[in-house]
């Protein structure tokens, strides 16, 4: 124990290693070995670099002592020393316990090793015994196999003889068997049996017995081949039988070329018959696709049998037949005009396409399937065209219905109802057509994943060819109503014009974008090629609506104009009696205007008008009659002062804006009626200007104008317009009057109020 404590003191007082770097290297190598990572200790090392750290590896006792002596007071030094001594002691005792513990372990380890040594000796003995036994076993086994050797060789030989005998038996029985097969017409069995024997017979043909068998077989097979050929030549049997024949004959080394030709000619005659049958059926217009099936079947069988070299021939054969078949199919499809049930057509096309697809698998190089796809594409295109024309006829029909409904007087009021029903009809029809066309792109249809049906069919065919064309057609036919009817205005009822105008406007605001969105969604249209944008269509629809409405205004204006013109032109205004009543035609004008107002009101919104007082008719009329009119007519009595009237009217014109009579109208009721009234009154004015009036004629015009004044202001956007035109009419009449003495305002009012 003393020694150990001494060593501990040595450890504490003197540096354990004079070369710290070498010791550190050893350390790091050990660490590396045990997989300790450097980082974990890095922090410690940093602080342990301090030579004053008593526990650190870089501890320098000299420095430490110097430091202590420098830093500490005596008292502190004493304390430090005692503390140090205490620590040393505790370290000593720790070391002692460690040594004792380890000593016990060493002793037990030594015991264990000794014990192991004894055990191994025992095991060695047992192993020796085992090897001796194994040697004995080997010896026995060798002896047994030596005994059995002879017998094994004999058995092998015997079994070989047996097989040979069986083969020989087969050979000897072969002619009989073949005969039997021939009897039973089991040609396939016979051929396969013969094939098996053929090589052997060939090989041993120098031996007479075998020779005899071979000859027998030859004769029989010759017979068989004869029969087969006969059967083949007959051609009456089914395609499958035929192909079997061909197969067997091929196995019998018949010349392939010749067989191929024969087979094809047979198949051709058969298919010819099929096609003729189809052609006959075509007239009965029952859609069949058996032809496709037979072509497919034949070529399937043929390709199975006919070797590579006949491929070219087969191609030619299939191509010519397919061409005929296609022409038939196309004629058939063209006959399919009715648009009733599209699913049937699509299914038939699908089956047709499927069969052709099968041919692709059989004849990879053939152009037939692509032709077939072209036919399908053409059929689809044709279909779209048919649908478009069907839609167009439907549109025309529904317009005719609407026209009839409009003509029927009891329904004259239901303009709005007619409009909604018309647009619903069209929309539903369009939707159902879209649904039918959509069958072409259904997932379970084989050709729907062709690039044409994915891209062009959707965008160019359905969207452009069907939907856009239909919308354009609507706009165009609407425009035609304006142009064709422009001459007399009588061919199209004005109410229909109004209805169509509203329809087009509705299309512009909502329906077009709805339909196109629907189409795009249903058909997942990907626009590879530029398509008509919605805005262009909307613009077109709006233009059509505007044109229709303008035309409506023109036609209605013309109807009233004609009435007014007739009434002015046919009357003798010079020799007329004093006015007692408003002329019936004026009442008629007001009535017509009112009914137009109702008609337009059902379809169009009210629109804005310039503000006016609650009782416009009275207020403005008083201005119109008393102030202006009196002043205007007063000088007319005296020819000496004619300037005033003109001056006044010119001043008036200076401040009133120019009126465009046939100007475009807006989409509201007030604007429409303003247009109609403008046209009517302008006509009235022009007609009055080329007539000559007597005194009472002028007065009648006054009465009429006042009457119009009373009723027309409420329809127009700016009542001043009506006032201005009526003023002009009365003014012009006064100019054309031989005796211009106007009627008393009060009298006019009385007459007008009386009705």
């Amino acid at each position: 124990a003393h020694l150990i404590s001494k060593a501990g003191s040595v450890i504490t007082t003197t540096p354990p290693d004079s070369d710290p770097t070498g010791r550190r290297r050893v350390h790091s190598m050990l660490k590396l070995y045990y997989g300790l990572n450097e980082e974990g200790t890095a922090a410690e090392q940093a602080e342990s670099l301090d030579p004053c750290d008593i526990n650190g590896p870089h501890f320098d006792p000299e420095v430490y002592l110097n430091k202590l002596r420098k830093d500490c007071s005596l008292c502190e030094l004493m304390d430090h020393e005692s503390c140090m001594v205490k620590q040393i002691r505790s370290l000593d005792s720790d070391m002692q316990t460690l040594v004792y513990e380890n000593y016990n372990k060493f002793i037990s380890a030594t015991d264990t090793i000794r014990k192991m040594k004894n055990d191994f000796k025992k095991m060695e003995d047992e192993m020796d015994c085992l090897s001796a036994n194994m040697a004995a076993i080997t010896e026995f086994s060798a002896r047994i196999s030596g005994t059995l050797q002879d017998q094994h060789a004999q058995i092998t030989k015997l079994s070989g003889v047996h097989t040979l005998l069986r083969k020989l038996q087969f050979l000897f029985e072969l002619p009989a068997r073949l005969n039997k097969c021939l009897e039973l017409q089991a040609y396939a069995q016979a051929v396969s049996a013969h094939r098996r024997a053929r090589c052997v017979l060939q090989q041993y043909s120098h031996m007479p017995s075998f020779r005899g068998i071979q000859d027998d077989c030859h004769v029989i097979m010759e017979q068989l081949a004869q029969q087969l050929r006969q059967k083949f030549r007959d051609g009456g049997s089914s395609a499958k039988d035929l192909s079997e024949c061909v197969e067997l004959l091929l196995q019998l080394d018949e010349p392939a070329e010749e067989l191929c030709d024969k087979f094809l000619s047979h198949a051709q005659s058969r298919l010819e018959a099929d096609l003729q049958g189809l052609e006959a059926e075509l007239k009965d217009s029952a859609f069949t696709d058996t032809g496709g099936g037979s072509v497919q079947k034949t070529s399937e069988l043929a390709s199975k049998n006919i070797p590579e070299m006949a491929n070219g021939k087969l191609h030619v054969f299939v191509d010519t037949l397919a061409a005929r078949y296609f022409s038939l199919v196309e004629r058939r499809i063209q006959e399919e005009k009715g648009v009733g049930d599209n699913s049937l057509l699509v299914r038939a096309l699908d089956r047709f396409h499927r069969r052709l697809q099968a041919i692709t698998k059989l004849l990879p190089g053939s152009a037939v399937p692509s032709h077939g796809t072209e036919i399908v594409v053409r059929a689809a295109r044709e279909r779209i065209k048919q649908y478009l024309s069907a839609l167009q006829t439907f549109y025309h029909d529904s317009l005719t219905d609407v026209r009839q409904a409009l003509a029927a007087p009891r329904l004259a009021v239901g303009g709005a109802k007619l409009l909604t029903s018309l647009s619903n009809f069209i929309l539903n029809q369009l939707k159902s057509v879209l649904a039918s066309v959509h069958l072409f792109t259904a997932k379970d249809i084989t050709f729907s994943n062709k690039p044409y049906f994915k891209g062009e069919f959707c965008s160019q065919g359905v969207r452009e060819g069907l939907v856009v064309s239909f919308i354009k057609f609507i706009c165009q036919s609407s425009r035609q109503y304006c142009e064709s009817a422009g001459d007399r205005g009588g061919s199209t009822p004005p109410a229909l014009l109004l209805l169509l105008s509203r329809l087009c406007l509705d299309y512009e605001t909502s329906t077009i974008s709805y339909i196109l969105t629907l189409t795009d969604e249903q058909f997942l249209v990907q626009h590879h090629t530029p398509v008509t944008p919605v805005t262009a269509l909307c613009a077109e629809a709006r233009e059509a609506a505007q044109k229709l409405l303008n035309h409506y205004v023109k036609v209605q204006g013309l109807i009233i104009s004609q009435m007014l013109r007739k009434s002015v032109e046919t009357r003798d205004w010079v020799n007329t009696i004093e006015p007692r009543n408003v002329r019936a035609v004026m009442k008629r004008v007001v009535e017509d205007t009112t009914s137009i107002d109702v008609q337009v009101g059902l379809l169009y919104e009210e629109g804005v008008r310039k503000a006016h007082s609650s009782d416009s008719s009275k207020r403005t009329f008083s201005v119109y009659s008393s102030s202006r009119q009196q002043i205007r007519y007063a000088p007319s009595y005296t020819p000496s002062a004619p300037m005033d009237t003109n001056l006044l009217s010119n001043i008036h014109k200076l401040f009133s804006e120019r009126i465009d009579i046939f100007s475009p109208v807006e989409f509201n009721k007030v604007s429409v009626l303003t247009g109609i009234i403008k046209i009517s009154l302008k006509t009235f004015l022009e007609c009055v200007r080329i007539r000559t009036f007597g005194r009472y004629g002028l007065q009648q015009i006054q009465v009429d104008c006042h009457y119009l004044q009373m009723y027309l202001w409420r329809f127009v956007s700016d009542e001043n317009l009506v006032h201005f035109l009526l003023d002009e009419i009365v003014g012009s009449a006064a100019h054309r009057c031989l005796d211009p003495s106007p009627m008393e305002q009060s009298v006019i009012e009385v007459i007008c109020e009386r009705g």
Binding site: D487, R488, L558, P639, T645, R658, I661, T692, H735, C737
Partner: protein
């Protein structure tokens, strides 16, 4: 026939010719150029007033008095000092209206009111046509025009009350053709047999208001009417108009070809506008004067081929909005092919020139 009024001149024609206004309060409807006058630029205006003595200055040889309300027409002689052309100061003429000398009445009481009166376009001015109700009357003027006798008549038969609204004596075919308008139809007449030679039914949607012959292309005709349109016809193919203009916003009352440059077309309408258009594509000289147009029928083809070279397109040259009331008559000057006048209801006569740029373009 008490309402057979003489006309009164009420127009001042200034030498400046930019814009002339009537100084009177009269209501004017008729206007014509003095066609025999080649030096002075002179227009004649007919008025429609009932209260004053209307007068028209005119020359007997070339009178074309149109008055839609008068029930009879008359032939007048121009004052001699006008005829001689010695009258230098236009102011004098306006201050001292000349009175016309009444030569004779066209007495047609039996046939109703006269729609229009036409002078023979060529020749010695011995013949006059008047259109009254549904009758065409051809008058012969006796020596010194003091007496007119009806030489032949034709009557338009048909259902309804037919009434001529306008007419024009063709300057082609040796003055043997007349074209008339009634309601929406245009009819051609052969004056030798006084029979109808063609009829364009529904030429316009509504009433046809005026007609004019292309002075250089004998089968070409312009018409205008209440459907706001001006249509050009080839009378050999009457099913479709050759061309159709729709620029006015109300009835077109008058249409006139320029006498020497038939691509220039003047229209007047009751929307108070006068429109001067350049109809190159159907003109007899679509390329200016570069190409001979011996064969009239080849014109369209030539014009098709040379469209690339031809810078002038059919277009509106100008819209004149000086008038404040309906324009009832437009007329080119007889003396100056670049000058025209238009007359509106309020008596305003506006004289304008073809824009200088266009003039040079046509000439050069």
């Amino acid at each position: 026939m008490e309402r057979c009024f003489p006309f009164q001149t009420s127009v001042t024609v200034y030498k400046a010719y930019t814009r002339v206004e009537s100084d009177a309060n009269t209501i004017a409807r008729a206007l014509t150029a003095q066609t025999a006058e080649t030096d002075a630029i002179r227009f004649l205006v007919g008025t429609q007033s009932l209260k004053f003595d209307n007068q028209i200055t005119n020359e007997p040889k070339r009178l074309s008095s149109e008055n839609r309300v008068l029930t009879c027409a008359a032939v007048w002689r121009m004052p001699p000092e006008w005829e001689s052309g010695s009258h230098e100061s236009p102011d004098d003429s306006s201050n001292n209206p000349q009175t016309l000398e009444l030569l004779c009445h066209l007495d047609n009481t039996a046939h109703g009111s006269v729609a229009c009166v036409l002078w023979e376009p060529l020749g010695d001015g011995k013949r006059v046509i008047s259109l009254a109700e549904n009758h065409v009357l051809l008058w012969d003027l006796q020596e010194s025009s003091t007496k007119a006798t009806i030489s032949s008549t034709a009557t338009l038969e048909g259902k309804g009350q037919l009434k001529f609204t306008a007419g024009k004596w063709s300057p082609h075919h040796n003055s043997t053709q007349l074209v008339t308008a009634n309601d929406t139809a245009i009819r051609g007449w052969d004056l030798r047999s006084m029979s109808q030679i063609y009829c364009i039914e529904n030429a316009h949607g509504q009433l046809v208001r005026d007609l004019d012959f292309n002075p250089n292309k004998q089968y070409y005709l312009a018409s205008c009417g209440d459907d706001c349109k001006v249509k050009f016809w080839d009378v050999r193919h009457i099913n479709e108009p050759v061309k159709c203009l729709e620029e006015h916003s109300h009835w077109v009352w008058s249409v006139r070809y320029n006498h020497s440059h038939d691509q220039l077309l003047l229209t007047g309408s009751s929307d108070s506008r006068v429109i001067l258009s350049n109809m190159v594509s159907i003109s007899s000289e679509p390329f200016g004067h570069l190409v001979d147009d011996d064969d009239l029928s080849d014109n369209e083809e030539n014009q098709q081929e040379d469209k690339g070279k031809e810078p002038l397109q059919d277009s509106i040259i100008a819209t004149y909005e000086e008038h404040e009331d309906s324009v009832y008559a437009v007329e080119w000057s007889a003396a100056d092919p670049w000058l025209f006048a238009s007359l509106s209801y309020d008596g305003r006569l506006v004289i304008n020139r073809v824009p200088r740029a266009l003039k040079y373009r046509i000439l050069l």
